[in-house]
């Protein structure tokens, strides 16, 4: 076919003309992506570097255990903040983790379709995206105003509202991966659904769920905004659930706003402590998971 040869020639010409440019574009795009990757890594490197560099010098036993000395003096430490973080985050986890896991179990194992589960899922997604400052406002109105004081309780409940949806989602997704044959084996033996879930399905999803919980805890440990209007942030140690308390993220913010070098140094030190605590949590989990699984679960 004559037209065939014509087209072939047209195409050959077009290819020859354009291909240098196309190869150039391809190379440029590749370079661009590499540049972007490097651009994203540099901040990470810088952050870690600065935190370690500036924070390490502030760390001492006194720093870890004492309350802050008079402002600007450079004495004392952030002991109350460390304690406060552990208490508030710990309490929040105690609330959010069980409720979150149970809800995840409901959505994955017990929900039969219909409006209620879909509503729960939808609102769970909504909760995940809420700005944490708004959660702080909720904590303020619901707890602080009712009790009458800034308190550990308000902070913990606020943090738990942030943490819970994360746990729900991870639990549901992890449970969905567990093969159906596990459940069917239980049914065929006449075991009740509750027992199957608790003793067969859940253990095999244990690792994934625990990982999710730890990720959620790491997330709320770094949250500052909701704490501003719930725990206030004092320089005293823990006085009671209904009393105010300090926490590391809050303390860092306050320290950074002060005009003194010593305060800034404390801020970096606190940042280092915070990162180390979060790291310890993740590593601790990994070790725990490895030790426990002689039988490897699904996840």
């Amino acid at each position: 076919m004559n037209s065939n040869n014509n087209y072939k020639k047209i195409l050959q010409e077009a290819v020859a003309k354009k291909y240098k440019k196309r190869l150039l574009v391809d190379k440029l795009v590749t370079i661009f992506t590499v540049v972007c990757v490097i651009a994203a890594i540099i901040p990470l490197g810088s952050i870690l570097l600065e935190v370690v560099k500036n924070g390490a010098s502030a760390i001492s036993f006194e720093f870890l255990t004492q309350p802050q000395g008079s402002i600007g003096s450079g004495s004392g430490g952030v002991g109350p903040a460390i304690q406060g973080t552990i208490i508030v985050v710990g309490l929040a986890s105690l609330i959010a983790a069980p409720v979150g896991v149970l809800t995840g179990i409901y959505l994955s194992e017990f929900a039969k379709g219909g409006i209620f589960p879909n509503l729960v899922r939808f609102f769970n997604d909504v909760l995940t995206g809420l700005p944490s400052i708004v959660i702080g406002i909720v904590g303020y109105i619901v707890i602080v105003l009712s009790i009458g004081s800034f308190s550990v309780l308000a902070g913990s409940i606020s943090l738990s509202i942030i943490m819970m949806p994360i746990v729900v989602r991870v639990t549901e997704e992890t449970l969905k991966i567990v093969p159906h044959s596990f459940r069917e084996a239980g049914y065929s033996l006449g075991i009740s659904k509750a027992k199957i879930t608790l003793f067969i399905v859940l253990p095999s999803a244990k690792n994934g769920i625990l990982t999710g919980i730890v990720i959620a805890i790491s997330r709320i440990a770094g949250e500052t905004a909701p704490l501003i209007m719930t725990i206030l942030g004092t320089s005293l140690f823990f006085t009671g659930i209904t009393g105010p308390v300090d926490a590391l993220p809050l303390r860092i913010w306050r320290l950074a706003s002060q005009p003194y070098e010593s305060a800034h140094a404390f801020g970096w030190g606190s940042a280092l402590i915070l990162i180390l605590m979060i790291l310890a949590l993740s590593v601790g989990l990994r070790l725990l998971a490895q030790k426990r699984s002689s039988f490897k679960g699904i996840t």
Binding site: M1, S3, N4, Y7, K8, I10, L11, Q12, A14, V15, K17, K18, Y19, R22, L23
Partner: protein, 282 residues
């Protein structure tokens, strides 16, 4: 047809994998060789999936690669347009000479050779966000052809050559995915044909189609080969017997036997070939 072909090809009986002659300038007097595969080895990491293949494919014919699963026929096919090396860890060495130019030459970019060597895959893969028209013209637009008239002409001709034009000529704006499986495969053939390839590689093109769709494509091959050299991988021996002029039988990475289809199926030289043909294994 078959006997004449057979007699003619006796003159230029292709060399088997024992690798007799490596002189690339040997040009047979009757019938040009479009693709000359020389000492090709294909690797997946350290595993050698193709062992020193030597094969010459005649121009404007249909050549079938057959053999049991894992024999390397698809790997060999994908070496012919340098798609094999795109699998992570995979590479190939040797030479594949198309019209005198070795596509494995270091100075040639694979992007260019794929203009001359097109491919159709096992499962039809039209671009789902494009219309029928856009699918067929995709390769043309990539290469900067902007003349709308030319594009329309090439699209029409390609669809006609793929035996799809009559069915879609009034709905070229419809999404490519709205067609049936067999039609989608012909769409993919049209898309490949639009690039005016000289060689068309087909990797089990009918294995995911129903019998009617399959037979339409087999019919297609008969007219296609007037313009394009076709190499088809198939696990369906009967299909190879139906559509191909030449057949290469492979087993575990080796080229066992290669000859005209008639000869391979009716009078195989190697015992292994005979056993495969008669279904003793596969």
């Amino acid at each position: 047809m078959a006997i004449e072909e057979f007699l003619a090809s006796k003159e230029e009986r292709v060399v088997e994998s024992t690798g007799k002659h490596q002189d690339e300038n040997v040009v047979e007097s009757t019938g040009k060789h479009k693709v000359s595969i020389e000492n090709v080895n294909g690797w997946y990491g350290k595993k050698r999936a193709l062992k020193d293949i030597n094969l010459k494919v005649k121009e404007k014919t249909v050549t079938a690669f057959i053999g049991p699963s894992g024999c390397g026929k698809t790997t060999l096919l994908r070496c012919l347009n340098r798609m094999h090396e795109m699998t992570p860890g995979a590479h190939a060495d040797g030479r594949v000479i198309v019209d005198g130019a070795d596509i494995y030459d270091k100075s040639i970019d694979p992007v260019i050779i794929r203009r001359r060597i097109g491919m159709v895959f096992q499962k039809p893969n039209p671009f789902p966000t494009m219309s029928i028209f856009e699918n067929v013209s995709a390769g043309l637009r990539l290469n900067g052809i902007s003349n709308k008239t030319i594009i329309r002409e090439i699209v029409e001709e390609s669809l006609k050559n793929a035996a799809l034009w009559d069915e879609v000529k009034n709905e070229l704006e419809q999404p490519g995915m709205s067609l049936s499986g067999g039609q989608q495969q012909r769409l993919c053939i049209a898309r490949a044909l639009a690039m005016q390839p000289e060689v068309l590689l087909m990797d089990e093109p009918t294995s995911s189609l129903d019998p009617i769709g399959s037979s339409k494509i087999e019919e297609l091959l008969r007219s296609l080969k007037d313009n394009v050299t076709i190499i088809i991988v198939t696990h369906n021996m009967q299909q190879a017997a139906r559509v191909s002029d030449f057949t290469a039988f492979m087993y575990l990475g080796d080229l066992i036997e290669y000859g005209s289809t008639n000869q391979i199926f009716m009078n195989p030289e190697k015992e292994l070939t005979e056993r495969y043909i008669s279904g003793k294994f596969g």
